[in-house]
Each structure stands twice: as C-alpha cells, then as structure tokens.
Symmetry: C2
Subunit: 169 residues, 2 copies
C-alpha cells in the first residue's frame, strides 16, 4: 500500500524503512522470530491475505532479511527464517514492543514477556550507548553530519541544519 520509495534518501533510518517494507513486515519478522515459519501459519496468525503476505515475504527476501528453504517436495513447501540482518532487527522490535507496553498497554497488561537467558530475569529492551553502556535518551545525544550526509530528497534541510549545530539546545 506504500507508494513512495525511500531508496534515494541519504538517511539510514529511511533506508531501514525501505528495506523493512511496510507495517505488516515487522509483524512478519515478529512471527518468524517467535517460531512460526510456514506460510500458512503466518496467514493464520496475522490474518493477512495470502497475496499481501507473498508480497511482503518477497520484499523481505529481496532485502536480505529472510531466507526460505524447502521442507517438502510435490508440492514444494517452504520454511521461512530470519537472516543475520533479520535477526539483528529483533532487539529493535523488542525495544519497540517495550515502548508499546509502556505507552499503549492493553487493559489486560503486557501481551508478551521476555526473559534474558544470560541473567535469568524478565527484561525490558533498553537502548544503551555502545561506548559507555549508559542508557541513551533523546536529550543526551548530539547528532552531527557523517561522511555520507547529503542534501537530497528526504534530507533536504537536515544536512545543513546539522552542519550548523554543535549541540542540541
């Protein structure tokens, strides 16, 4: 249902959205992560139409986020799985899920809990600094242009705004 391509934007967020494809796609990735790996399981779980799911899985395979392997011949049936790139999206989906738990909780409470196997505790995916490990908030990060920053569609003003910004107000 999306008519605009973000492929020409010099923005890694836009590129991520371009690769991921559309709103159904995070839910498809969620289901593959949670252990549903067959086409019919995804159709049943999500209530998505077969055509739309075929389209989304094709986008995900073209984008390198999902691979499929035949588990049956005659007729051929495929099992779908996350690639390394797809697996690396999962923690981000967990963080978005935690945000939804906090800001859009259903009345009955959190639908899914996640236990961190290493420490054994129920965990909330939290975004931290790769360098010092502290939690990152929007207030304590300062953006600046990287080597690939460009004035281009989707970033027509940002590059120049960032060039003049030494620290966020």
């Amino acid at each position: 249902m999306r008519n605009t391509s973000f492929a020409s934007m010099h923005c890694s967020l836009a590129q991520s959205l371009e690769l991921i494809g559309d709103w159904w796609t995070p839910l498809v990735l969620r289901d593959l992560y949670l252990g549903l790996n067959r086409f019919d399981q995804l159709v049943t779980d999500l209530g998505i139409s077969r055509n739309l799911l075929t389209d989304r899985l094709t986008t995900l395979m073209d984008g390198g986020l999902v691979v499929r392997t035949p588990y049956q011949e005659n007729p051929v049936r495929h099992a779908y799985a996350l690639t390394e790139a797809g697996q690396e999206l999962v923690p981000i989906l967990l963080a978005l899920t935690a945000w939804g738990d906090r800001w859009a909780t259903p009345p009955a409470g959190q639908p899914i809990r996640f236990t961190h196997n290493t420490c054994g505790k129920v965990t909330t995916a939290t975004i931290c600094c790769s360098e010092c490990g502290d939690e990152l908030t929007s207030a304590d990060v300062t953006p600046s242009p990287g080597p690939g920053g460009r004035t281009a569609p989707g970033t027509a003003l940002i590059a120049s705004v960032l060039s003049g910004v030494e620290a966020k107000p």
Copy 2:
C-alpha cells in the same frame, strides 16, 4: 495509504505501529528530533505532500506523540514538538538508524553520527538488558505469554505457541 488497523491486535509491537501510523511518520519524528519544528520545514526536508504531512501530524497528535503550539497569530502558525512518548521513541529510531548504517549503508558512508554527551564518544545505539546491562540478541531472549496475551486477530497462533514453549530452540 494503510488500510488495515492494528488496534485490535493484542501485541505491543502492533500497537506501537498503530500509534506511529505509517512509514513517513518515523521520518517526521526524526526531523522533529533533529530540530525542524515547522510545517514548511518538514515539507521541504522530506519532500512530502502538504496533505500527507497534515494527515501524519494529526495522527501523531491524536496518538499523543507530538504537540503543537502557536508561535504566530494572523495567520496562526504552529511549532511542532515531541511529547514524552515521542521522545522515548527517539532512541529506538537511533537503533534502527544504526541497523541501517550497518545493513544499508550508502556508498559514501554513515549519513549522521551521534555523540553521547555523557561519555563524549561517537555512539552506536545498542539494545541492552534492563536488568544486567548486557547487549540483547535475538538468540538469548526467551518469550513467554504476559498477562495480556490473547488469541486474537494478529496473534491467532502466537499465544498458544508461546504457552507451549519453555525455551527457544
């Protein structure tokens, strides 16, 4: 352009996607975070149509992610800003941006860099366990049903699959 509502799904990821609205929306949130706060700046930066941007900003305000305040009368002009809920999405967008830097980098390199003010280093937003602080990967988290887990549209199989799953294979 999205025709399906995720509002009835018992899944905090689906609820997050429902609140955020559609693909343009993360880029609108990005721009508000980066310091563009006027309608015309957003139109210019993103190359989005005025109608579509009006629609997206209305969704964001209805969802409690964005507020606007008048900065001029006659004609009235508004400045847009992230609410607390919107600000808490920013680190997740940073994590998605880092994923895009890694998996969909433009040839010229990373478009934007982020410096963590606290430690002073260029940072990569990383998803960590709220309890032990270790980095979270898809392999070391085990999902289980929460109090709000339901067999419902969008989670027609997941609740029962998770009930039978003690640890991910």
